[in-house]
Amino acid sequence: MALPAHLRTLAKVQGEVTLHIEGPVSQRSILDALEAGYPVLRGTVRDQVTKQRRPFLRFFACAEDLSHQPPDSALPDAVLSGAEPFLIVAAVAGG
């Protein structure tokens, strides 16, 4: 998984993050695993209460925008195998 720079700084990680997930691999399960491994990221990718993706963050994988996929949809096989990263990308916004 790849995080935007400001979240890498917050989580004190460099480069990609590797997550080990048991059971179905979906947006929800990898975000659950991410937040369990890096509690400081709770609330930063998705709202703590509603669990909605923050609107200025997008989810990309295998050259596709998965941001609007249901959170329990299966992710591409290449992400499951670790061949391709799941990208959390900061939208071009702000000032």
């Binding site: 935007p4 400001h6 979240l7 917050l10 400081v40 709770r42 609330g43 930063t44 990718v45 709202d47 703590q48 209460v49 923050r54 200025f56 963050l57 900061a90 939208a91 916004a93 702000g94």
Partner: protein, 371 residues
């Protein structure tokens, strides 16, 4: 030897400015949390090394940071701000019901006595409290639930709870202010609340003297006179002598009574400061002259303080939480601008000097006086 620590929140990080009691030479550290909006940071009166900071940005929402060493190092604490029960609705800009949604923390107010207790004023307007150093937050839901909540409406900056004043004489009494609902008070530690807006008059709402709907920008209280409150409203500078039960206008001879910041001299409870801003549409000083106005009579009679401040071509704003005072014998007063300057005065406003000139836009300024 006394020291002063000025905590500055900006659009792109936090900065800590320190000086000895002379307040002539300053050390600047930061940015802390570079790139993030720091709406507010403030120290605990009970433990000056305990600081809390509100960190947010448009991508990743809200975080709360805590320092136990005066701002040298920080650790993230709890950032779950869940409204109690079913949040319900308030009015949207077009008058339609709009669900209450948490957006950010505007103001953090540490307890006067317990470093682990801190209050958070948030947008959409609500008051939260933590009693474990910011790890967990609980809404004081009596404020939103007291009855007028469904009629509150956001101002241009959002529907934010931006002012929290803890009464030093009565731990059960808290004052808060919301843009643009007005001012409210609890006398029972936050269980029940009542609007305290009698005497406010606002031409921009259908009933200018309505119980709620006034765009209160900031309120200040002097610890020696907790029943006396001063308010910078959208337009009008106001004073209450009875804990907010009623208000009188004290704008007097101000060149314009629009503004955001208001504060009080540390040792003279009738000496107050405002920064007049031209108008609601033109958020900059009149005539390009940055002037702090001081009243030594609790309002009505004001004098311009200009020495050391730019008196031409100045078009910055001074936001509601961006003015503060220290408690040294010669009271220091500080304010930050949207142009990134932080000005300080070591003589109660008679003269000013820029401490820093080129920070990101300043959102908040707080001061700690350290022995």
């Amino acid at each position: 030897m006394s020291k002063v620590r000025v905590l500055v929140g900006t659009r792109k990080g936090a900065f800590v400015l320190t000086s000895d009691g002379k307040r002539q030479k300053w050390d600047v550290t930061g940015p802390h949390f570079g790139g993030w909006e720091i709406y507010h940071l403030k120290g605990s009166p009970a433990d000056p090394n305990r600081l809390y900071a509100s960190q947010s940005n448009g991508w990743s929402g809200q975080l709360i940071q805590r320092s136990n060493d005066g701002g040298k190092t920080w650790e993230p604490v709890g950032n779950k701000f869940a409204y109690e029960g079913i949040p319900g609705t308030h009015q949207w800009y077009d008058g339609t019901p709009h669900p209450w949604e948490f957006k950010r923390v505007w103001h953090l107010e540490p307890s006067l006595t317990d470093p682990d207790t801190v209050y958070a004023g948030v947008e959409d307007a609500a008051l939260f409290r933590s009693t474990d150093g910011g790890n967990n937050w609980e809404e004081l839901a009596g404020l939103r639930g007291h009855g007028s909540g469904p009629h509150w409406q956001p101002g241009a900056g959002g529907m934010c709870l931006h002012t929290i004043i803890l009464d030093p004489a009565d731990p059960q009494r808290i004052f808060i202010a919301i843009s643009s609902a007005g001012a409210f008070r609890t006398d029972d530690g936050g269980k029940s609340w009542k609007p305290i807006n009698r005497g406010l008059r606002s031409q921009y709402i259908p009933d200018p003297e309505a119980e709620v709907g006034h765009c209160v920008h900031h309120i200040a209280m002097h610890k020696s006179k907790p029943n006396v409150l001063y308010m910078q409203k959208h337009w009008d500078v106001m004073r209450s002598n009875n804990g907010g039960d009623s208000w009188q206008e004290v704008s007097g001879n101000l060149p314009t009574d629009f503004g955001f910041a208001i504060d009080i001299h540390a040792h003279e409870p009738e000496t107050i400061y405002v920064v007049p801003i031209k108008s609601d549409a033109e958020h900059y000083p009149l005539d390009g002259k940055l002037r702090v106005y001081r009243s030594r009579s609790g309002g009505d009679e004001w004098e311009a303080l200009t020495e050391g401040l730019p008196q031409q071509d100045c078009y910055v704003n001074v936001l509601r939480d961006a003015m503060a005072v220290d408690t040294l014998d010669d009271c220091g007063i500080y304010f930050g601008t949207t142009g990134g300057q932080v000005y300080g005065s070591a003589n109660a406003g008679d003269s000013w000097m820029p401490i820093v000139r080129d920070l990101p836009a300043v959102l908040s300024v707080e001061v700690q006086t350290l022995s």
